[in-house]
């Protein structure tokens, strides 16, 4: 391996063959089979139902503080996750419940962390924004906008250092792209050919400020261009398009070609957090996305039209998913609060 920076003499970037410059891709369809389609559907549905329940529990006062829901963006994480394997690491911001479920973390442990109980992934000490699973290679849940980007780049650095063949999926929102540290990370990733995919989830608004009002660069998939990083814009409401782009980006990284940018055009139906009155966008805009671009509804049409499943079958699946979520919600309320003695544990790793 060679994590080391390459001197100008050893490598002229200008001469380096890149797979492809930044581009927009249409809704490239994968040749996903019926079982895969159904898997995507179920995974997206689990996130949707989980988040709806979380929103309800927040409203009941069972979840405190901040709670950022992922409803509307499910296709992004499900499409990406389907393209990676157990070697690969995932890190994201505070809108993280969907990523954790997609990584295979137990809905019970996630929901119990939201309620601040001992059965939560962080024993109740992290909350909605701070959950981790070493077992599932999920590295958080980070609350400072953009901070997960150098961290994700470090996960890629470790993969290259240890020669694991692993790739780091580093998610960030459109609101994070102009953070200085994001650009610092892009520079090092390309300089050292690190296997990291920067998945920009462009849901159009960083809290209440639209991309148009916050970013001089509007085509976020091109943000890696100054560093020589290929990028692609993807319909993030279409799980198949996401998966096709993900597969390509993962291959690019695994082949040792360095980092990749994917801009996912997506949308969050709910506010930035639970207490967002959403005055910065129109109801018509939200309704149009829900009614005409919903990733779950659209995939259900594809599945039913293909004839592999009926609407009744999908409804049955919805019931199963709902039961999992209800079970998680019950666990999250029954699990006891952390023991008071936990206040002082885990500050340091005990030797």
């Amino acid at each position: 391996m060679a994590t080391a920076p390459k001197g100008a003499a050893s490598k002229g970037k200008a001469g380096k063959a890149k797979t492809k410059p930044a581009s927009r891709s249409g809704s490239a369809k994968t040749g996903a089979n019926a079982a895969e389609l159904l898997g995507y559907y179920r995974d997206m549905l689990l996130i949707r139902r989980f988040e709806e329940r979380a929103g309800q529990m927040y409203g009941m006062g069972l979840i405190g503080g901040f709670c950022h829901l992922y409803i509307g963006q499910e296709a992004v994480v499900v499409g990406m996750q389907a393209a990676i394997d157990a070697r690969d690491a995932v890190v994201t911001s505070y809108r993280d419940h969907g990523h954790m479920l997609a990584c295979g973390m137990d809905p019970k442990g996630v929901m119990a962390e939201l309620t601040g109980r001992s059965g939560g992934y962080s024993k109740g000490k992290g909350g909605s924004m701070h959950m981790f699973s070493k077992e599932k290679n999920f590295y958080g849940g980070h609350g400072i906008v953009g901070a997960q980007v150098p961290i994700g780049t470090g996960l890629a650095f470790a993969a290259k250092y240890k020669n694991t063949g692993g790739v780091s999926l580093t998610y960030l929102g459109d609101g994070a792209v102009n953070q200085g540290q994001v650009n610092e990370a892009f520079n090092m990733a390309e300089l050292w050919d690190l296997p990291v995919i920067y998945v920009i989830e462009n849901n159009r608004y960083g809290m209440g400020t639209s991309v148009a009002r916050a970013s001089a660069a509007k085509e976020l998939y091109r943000l890696g261009e100054p560093y020589g990083m290929p990028g692609e814009q993807v319909d993030g409401m279409d799980v198949l398009a996401v998966n096709a782009a993900a597969a390509k980006a993962v291959k690019h990284c695994r082949d040792g070609n360095g980092p990749y940018v994917l801009e996912m055009l997506t949308y969050r139906y709910r506010g930035h957090s639970m207490s967002d009155p959403a005055k910065y966008r129109t109801k018509e805009e939200v309704a149009d996305m829900r009614d005409n671009h919903d990733p779950i509804a659209n995939l259900s049409k594809v599945i039913v039209e293909s004839g592999s499943k009926t609407e009744a079958d999908l409804k049955e699946m919805d019931k199963e998913v709902r039961a999992i979520v209800v079970e998680a919600a019950e666990f999250a309320q029954e699990s006891p609060e952390p023991n008071a003695s936990e206040l002082y544990t885990d500050v340091l790793v005990e030797v």
Partner: protein, 457 residues
């Protein structure tokens, strides 16, 4: 069983609101995610979405109602196969208690839990074998080289650590021995490479990050505090950060205010970090080795003026100095002088001056600033009954302030005089040679403070 639809809270502080509008009528079918109502507070209007599927069986609270309590039943949803006959008396009492109230009640027992006793620190081994006179610079390099030989997951990154051989030559020769994969020159982007090193540490590597000076680490403060120090706690103990962040700290010579600051108390404030600031070459080596081996993030504060000073260092690759243990470097009976890093030299020189006047000072090299070795300081004060804290940083909320507080809490009855602090004066460090000298603690300041607490002026 019919499902009660409850008045939701928009935020943890909301207790009541207005039910502005129903978007569904009794008898309407409802799917999960459908907007069924709108509620408003003085701050915002929010849509209420259905979480379950069914038919809106009954509207309990009509639209336009004001001051509706959070968690009151506002409607009832019928599931498949149910009808309005299944609706009993909608019982707002069945709604769960708002979480806010229980939190207040339960806060008391949690607060009553006392902090665990400090973990006993492994006693320092008395080294009796052969030693070699070594500079602090070489001792630091040897520590890194030995640990890199012993553990291939240890690597060094920072500005100019490789081809340039270190801005202060601390990493001299490491690139030649360990190669480009383990001695990595970074771009001048402290925020980015510090975050990168934290990610690498989460994934099991053991980074040593060199800051050209700790002044530049302010660019990386967010990752040092929010990412490195807090993640183990926030993850319930799953994700430690075995990284060492090291480099020169404090004033050098005539480099001006932005390059001359002591960050000791900044980092010592933060749970989840170890903060080390050695004086001798032996401690620099022994503590850096302990820091690299430790699974926690360590802030390792060096001093440019000390790099070229030589001290005897044990000839033993396995010799380490425990984190968390101060050292009495001169015994005395009349006054205790605490110091760290370059100020230990001042304290020792002051002790010699004081001795000529019949005052025997006990000098403690703190070495570790977090966790502070309170026991060693208190034991010394029990003997001397007087104490002076010496540091190069500013006085306000400095290490001396912390030691003063410890004296109040743990040694009040043993004190014969109030503690005195010797610090930098409370201004940005000036460039002019005469002003710089006036701003930084001098030998005479330490002597004067010691005599003052001994009432020997």
């Amino acid at each position: 069983m019919p499902i009660n639809i409850l008045m939701p809270a928009l935020s943890p502080t909301m207790t009541e609101g207005n039910l502005a509008k129903w978007h569904k009528n009794e008898g309407d079918a409802v799917s999960a995610g459908d907007v069924i109502a709108e509620i408003e507070t003085d701050k915002a209007t929010m849509e209420v979405e259905a979480v379950d599927e069914g038919v809106l069986g009954k509207i309990v609270i009509s639209e336009g109602s004001e001051h509706v309590k959070v968690n009151a039943v506002i409607g009832v949803l019928l599931e498949e196969g149910e009808n309005t006959g299944d609706i009993g008396d909608a019982a707002p009492a069945a709604a769960p208690e708002p979480a806010a109230e229980t939190t207040v009640e339960e806060a008391a027992p949690a607060a009553a839990v006392s902090a665990p006793a400090a973990k006993p620190v492994t006693a320092e081994k008395e080294f009796t074998g052969p030693t070699t006179s070594t500079t602090v610079r070489d001792a630091l390099r040897d520590a890194m080289a030995e640990e890199m030989r012993a553990d291939e997951n240890v690597f060094l990154m920072g500005e100019e650590v490789g081809q340039y051989q270190g801005a202060y030559k601390v990493s001299e020769g490491l690139l030649d021995e360990f190669g480009e994969m383990r001695v990595i020159d970074t771009p001048i982007t402290e925020h980015g490479f510090t975050g990168l090193s934290v990610g690498a540490a989460f994934a099991g590597l053991k980074p040593i990050v060199e800051f050209m000076t700790f002044n530049f680490a302010m660019q990386a403060m967010d990752h040092l505090i929010n990412s490195a120090a807090k993640t183990n706690y926030m993850s319930g103990g799953q994700m430690g950060c075995p990284a060492v962040f090291r480099g020169p700290n404090g004033a050098a010579a005539r480099v001006g205010a932005q390059h001359s600051q002591c960050y000791a108390s900044w980092y010592a404030h933060v749970p989840g970090l170890y903060v080390l600031a050695p004086y001798t070459a032996a401690d620099a080596k022994g503590l850096l080795k302990s820091a690299i081996r430790d699974p926690n993030p360590v802030i390792f504060l060096e001093n440019e003026m000390l790099y070229g000073q030589s001290f005897d260092v044990p000839d033993d690759d396995d010799w380490t100095v425990p984190i968390g243990k101060a050292k009495v470097v001169r015994e005395g009976s009349d006054v205790t002088l605490t110091a760290f890093s370059i100020m230990v030299g001042h304290a020792l020189a002051a002790a010699e001056e004081l001795s000529k006047e019949g005052i025997e000072a006990e000098v403690i090299d703190l070495r570790t600033l977090r966790p502070l070795d309170t026991e060693t300081i208190v034991n010394s004060v029990k003997k001397t009954n007087r104490i002076v804290s010496v540091e190069e940083g500013w006085p306000v909320a400095g290490m001396g302030s912390e030691i003063a507080a410890i004296m109040m809490e743990e040694a009040f009855d043993w004190l014969d005089a109030p503690l005195k602090r010797v610090c930098a004066v409370d201004v940005p460090l000036p460039y002019a040679a005469n002003l710089e000298k006036l701003a930084l603690p001098q030998l005479a300041d330490v002597v004067a403070a010691a005599k003052a607490v001994c009432y020997a002026d």
